[in-house]
Amino acid sequence: MPLLPKNPKRRKRLALIGLLIIGVGSAVALATVALKENINLFFSPSQIAAGEAPLNRTFRIGGMVADGSVKRSSESLEVYFEVTDTAKNIPVTYNKILPDLFREGQGIVAMGKLGEDGIFVASEVLAKHDENYMPPEAAQAVMDAQKLQSTLKGN
């Protein structure tokens, strides 16, 4: 290896740096694996259905707003919807202003408490944006293509 220093002192220092990075790296890796659950910002509906989420304590739930599940009250801001990860659905109620991006099929993260009745009472709803960026016409084209595909499959 022509790049390695010939001077033994320098070799030693280089080795020490390598050890330092490996050491710190594995320490942090172990710590993050141990803390994995705590670093997660939210629980998925499946986790909640499996009883992993704490009862009567504030936590966050994340998933998609289930299609056709949003029901708004005509007198107040009260809104009911279901959060899904396609496997399980969790019902959520909320009575404050929803973010701009909130709509059916949109990813959201809601903070609140799970009641005894299995309904999640949210005190804050945040929209989770996806990583796709495209002009409206392109989005329309994608939707049309998907529709066409599903009708073709249906036949």
Binding site: R13, I17, L20, L41, L126, K128, H129, Y133
Partner: protein
């Protein structure tokens, strides 16, 4: 190969090389930023979901990339300084720190401004946002440590070690959105399959990213030159250079 590196890593050659590069870097930065901003803010189409607000991506994403890139440059040159005792490597590391800190802050502030209308909150303690905040603290720690130690070489060594320890944060920032459930969305451009962004939106982003990178080189070389002027002021070549320039 080593003699080549040592020649260019000498303060004198580095100083003269930087002098020649700086105007080129400065002008290319200016052109790229003007073109990139015009393309990004005016020409690029609106987003199907976010409307006009997504345009902050043209500052936010390049700034976030730079915050990590500069940290890697800082840590690498810190390691080179530790092992080979090359003065210029230490100068590059210490000149990079404030620029990197500024880009990190810019990424955090623009992200926050975007987060309020889109997510509904200025800040949330998710893994991506928190690890980027830690990166800012690493930069600030580097700067503070450097100014706290009087002796220049001791300061450079201590800072290099700090920078190297902090390297572990870089993969965490990048993969945080995959390893954990976060509010921040996943990677759009820096992923293995094709970018999840229309080409007409992607090109201005890449122009801006290149512009930011050249700006960093420009600002970093300016700062390194000042450091050389300061540390080499008693050498013969510097005296000759300065008095020669006056004649």
């Amino acid at each position: 190969m080593w003699s080549f590196i040592h020649k260019h890593a000498s303060p004198k050659h580095f100083y003269l090389l930087a002098e020649r590069l700086i105007p080129w870097l400065g002008w290319s930065t200016l052109i790229l930023l003007v073109v990139g901003l015009y393309q990004g803010l005016i020409v690029a189409p609106t987003d199907y979901q976010q409307g006009e607000s997504y345009r902050i991506i043209y500052v936010h994403v390049p700034a976030a990339w730079m915050s990590m890139f500069i940290y890697m440059v800082m840590a690498t040159s810190g390691a080179i300084g530790l092992v080979w005792k090359i003065k210029m490597a230490d100068a590059v590391a210490s000149s990079s720190a404030p620029i990197g800190a500024a880009f990190t802050l810019l990424a955090l502030v623009t992200g926050s401004l975007w987060g309020k209308p889109m997510w509904g909150t200025w800040w949330v303690w998710d893994a991506r946002l928190t690890s980027e905040l830690i990166l800012l603290f690493l930069y600030l720690g580097f700067i503070a440590l450097e100014s706290a130690i009087e002796d220049r070489r001791t300061a450079a060594n201590a800072c290099a070690v700090l920078a190297l320890v902090g390297v572990v944060n870089i993969p965490i920032i990048h993969y945080s959105v995959e390893w954990w459930n976060t509010l921040h969305q996943g990677a759009t451009v820096t992923r293995f399959d094709k970018p999840a962004m229309a080409t007409s939106m992607l090109i201005p982003l890449l122009i801006m990213a290149l512009g930011f990178k050249l700006y960093y080189l420009y600002a970093m070389l300016l700062r390194v030159r000042v450091k050389i002027l300061e540390s080499e002021k008693d050498t013969t070549w510097m005296k000759e250079l300065i008095t020669g320039a006056k004649k």
